[in-house]
């Protein structure tokens, strides 16, 4: 029998079956249903992959708060790397006594806890209302202190990032949280007399002066990390941490390639979203991230070899742009007869390998500059088009994040670019943190997209 997507209730029985078959779990393992006790009520509305590897992925994700609390208790320094998606966390993990995490990840708490923790209400009370991106939940988490300890160091990238996030971080600073700011310039084409530097991923280029500027900004972060940890962050440590980051990225890269190009989809969209997110910040444990991804990859390879998966070989292949605020929507793709076939969750630069064999700070600056959000929407569309072609997707869903300044209009730019260059249908949707009220409309759109893909296949 092939893999299935099962409910939380069904996982109870499945867990017993796996356990009796000798399931070996890491220390954070256990029944998925136990997370309901933490208030993670949204799990009741999700459908999960039924593999032991997926169970490990979910348990890893849902125990991050415990890991952070333990790190604090052990006296390790906690660093909140805000807004940056994949560079400063790599730097922080070079230090023995530091655990970096991604406070922005709190944007999923209103979904996971179905608003029971009232983080959005706290954000409202701070004047950060619903015209802002749902990442405003992070400010509520800082106020309540219920989801992560207040970090020993907070860093935040500003400039060509996200206006909403900058505003929210500034409000945090106003509340007394000291932040080390570093600036990300808008990535532009090199001047005619300037050295052109090709960035990781091979799609974008920048001028030498921009690379040097980002290096100088990352030096600010390096000094802050050294100050808080009391350790020297030298070139050897950075080279090693880059190599370790690339190990994670290679596993994730192979997982993406295997899943998105398999004849029959071996892993659902929801689990792939969670897996990809690990690349940004390692869910507060880099070694375990690698192990979790390797187990998922082994499961995927086994399924491909066995020719099993979700939805058969005729499912509609959909490329997904931007993460969804409500995880429930990812399940809809398979429910509507689609499958995930490529993604751009705004951190494609965290999937590309960081250059090795060059000066580490230069390598990190190159990686940071490859951030899709640092360039124009047109640039981002070009990268998406390249990935859509590579994975053979038949349509694209651009998922807008309500209130997020960086994606209020880019969906149209991306859509027009893809229609013009690839002649593909592009569906734009908007997903709030809890989509229940708009679920019928979202479902209709995704189902109609799948229907139109299948119509286009018939002569």
């Amino acid at each position: 029998m092939g893999p299935r997507q099962i409910t939380l209730e069904e996982w109870e029985l499945r867990y017993d079956v796996l356990k009796s078959a000798g399931l070996d779990e890491p220390f954070y393992g256990g029944r998925l249903g136990r997370h309901l006790g933490d208030g993670d009520y949204r799990l009741r509305n999700l459908r999960f992959d039924d593999s032991a590897a997926a169970l490990r992925l979910w348990n890893f994700l849902l125990t991050e708060e415990e890991r952070l609390a333990r790190a604090r208790a052990e006296g390790r320094k906690l660093v909140g790397v805000m807004k940056d998606l994949g560079t400063t966390a790599v730097m922080a993990y070079a230090l023995d006594n530091v655990v970096a995490f991604y406070p922005d990840g709190a944007w999923w708490i209103p979904c996971i806890m179905e608003n029971s923790d009232r983080l959005l209400a706290v954000a409202d009370s701070l004047g950060i209302g619903e015209s802002f991106c749902p990442v405003r939940a992070m400010s509520g988490a800082f106020v309540t202190g219920n989801h992560f300890p207040i970090p020993d160091l907070l860093t935040c990238s500003v400039g060509a990032t996200c206006d909403d996030f900058s505003a929210i971080a500034q409000r945090l600073e106003g509340l007394g949280h000291e932040i080390v700011w570093w600036e990300m310039p808008h990535r532009r084409a090199p001047e005619s007399d300037e050295e052109t530097v090709v960035l990781p991923g091979g799609v974008f280029a920048a001028g030498r002066s921009q690379v040097d500027f980002v290096k100088s900004q990352l030096e600010v972060v390096r000094k802050a990390l050294e100050r808080v940890s009391g350790e020297l962050l030298d070139g050897d440590k950075l080279a090693d941490t880059i190599a370790r980051a690339n190990r994670v990225r290679r596993v994730l890269g192979e997982l993406r390639r295997a899943v998105y190009t398999a004849a029959c989809c071996p892993l659902p969209a929801l689990e792939m979203l969670i897996a990809e997110m690990l690349a940004i910040h390692y869910c507060s444990d880099r070694d375990e991230t690698e192990a979790v991804l390797e187990e998922l990859l082994a499961e995927v390879h086994a399924r491909i070899t066995a020719g099993v998966g979700f939805g058969g070989s005729d499912t509609a292949k959909v490329f997904w742009v931007n993460p969804v605020a409500d995880l429930r929507v990812m399940n809809m793709l398979e429910e509507c007869g689609g499958r995930i076939c490529g993604t751009d969750y705004m951190f494609t630069h965290a999937l590309d390998l960081i250059p090795e064999g060059i000066e580490p700070m230069e390598a990190l600056a190159l990686a940071a500059l490859a951030d899709p959000m640092a360039g124009s929407s047109h640039d981002r569309a070009a990268r998406i088009a390249a990935d859509v072609t590579a994975f053979g997707a038949e349509a694209v869903i651009v998922s807008r994040i309500p209130g997020a300044s960086h994606c209020c209009a880019e969906g149209r730019v991306i859509g027009d670019y893809l229609r013009g260059t690839l002649n593909l249908p592009v569906l734009e949707i908007e997903v709030p943190p809890l989509c229940d009220a708009v679920r019928p409309g979202l479902y209709t759109r995704i189902e109609a997209l799948v229907e139109s893909i299948k119509q286009q296949r018939t002569p």
Partner: protein
């Protein structure tokens, strides 16, 4: 054998019965939507069958579409209204390349390929300001019947500018316009232009022609002209626009049963 298409929309349930293999429409009907949608659909279908001397067992296949498609228990399968409207319009207007469907709850712009298949589409997802609900509200506020809005709009000399992004605020804006002495005809024309403007913005660069206008709002005279002006292309109202979705559903019911109508051959 006959084939049934049921469009369970937000404001009305529409049913079309097609005869196979001719593809001739033998009956169509519309009933107001209500609480027990499934019963309403079953009742309307029963009435249409009786009026035409048919029995339920004569139905070969039934497709349900529309907002309430999932709760029509007598349907064999469901298909989205996007696919159904495309099929219905294609059946009526072979050369159609774009479809605007404005219903009670949402609006859509469909881009069709040369074979009439949906190539791409856009749907409004923000609020009711681009839908028939906006017209219902203005009709209620002005105390006139929905069907008479078009006639009133034709008397407009200077359509009002309705700038609110939300129907609730727009209603407040209309109250303000009335208080300041703006003619009802100018307000109705302004609302029509606002809906048309939103539809054109939604369509964006999907635009193609000829454009066929369907859905309940297409029955309001003058909306087609407002859309044509906003889009900069000719817009034609299709025959029986309210039942196009149901017609498409019936056509797809025929196809799903392996029957190709004479019209399609």
């Amino acid at each position: 054998m006959i084939y049934a298409g049921i469009d369970a929309g937000s404001r009305a349930i529409k049913i079309v019965l097609l005869e196979a293999p001719s593809g001739r429409m033998i009956a169509s009907g519309v009933a107001d939507q209500g609480i027990q949608q499934d019963k309403l659909a079953a009742g309307l279908l029963r009435r249409l069958l009786e009026e035409n001397g048919c029995r339920e067992s004569d139905i070969g296949y039934t497709v349900a579409t529309g907002y309430g498609r999932g709760i029509v228990s007598l349907a064999d399968t469901t298909v989205t209204e996007i696919t159904c409207h495309a099929a219905g319009v294609r059946h009526l207007v072979k050369e159609a390349r774009a479809v605007i469907d404005i219903g009670g709850q949402d609006s859509k712009f469909l881009h069709l390929d040369a074979d009439g298949k949906v190539r791409d589409f856009a749907m409004n997802d923000r609020c009711a300001a681009g839908t028939g609900r906006f017209l219902e509200i203005v009709a209620a506020r002005l105390g006139i019947h929905l069907a008479n809005l078009g006639e009133l709009a034709r008397q407009s000399r200077q359509p009002a500018q309705i700038s609110s992004m939300c129907v609730v605020f727009a209603e407040t804006e209309i109250v303000g316009l009335l208080a300041s002495g703006v003619e009802p005809a100018d307000i109705v024309a302004g609302v029509m232009n606002a809906i048309a403007g939103r539809t054109a913005a939604m369509a964006g660069r999907l635009s193609a022609s000829p454009v066929i206008f369907t859905g309940g709002v297409a029955m309001i005279s003058g909306m087609d002209r407002a859309l044509a002006e906003a889009l900069g292309v000719e817009v034609a109202v299709c025959e029986n626009p309210q039942i196009t979705g149901a017609l498409g559903a019936a056509i797809l019911a025929m196809r799903k049963d392996g029957t190709q109508s004479a019209v399609e051959q």
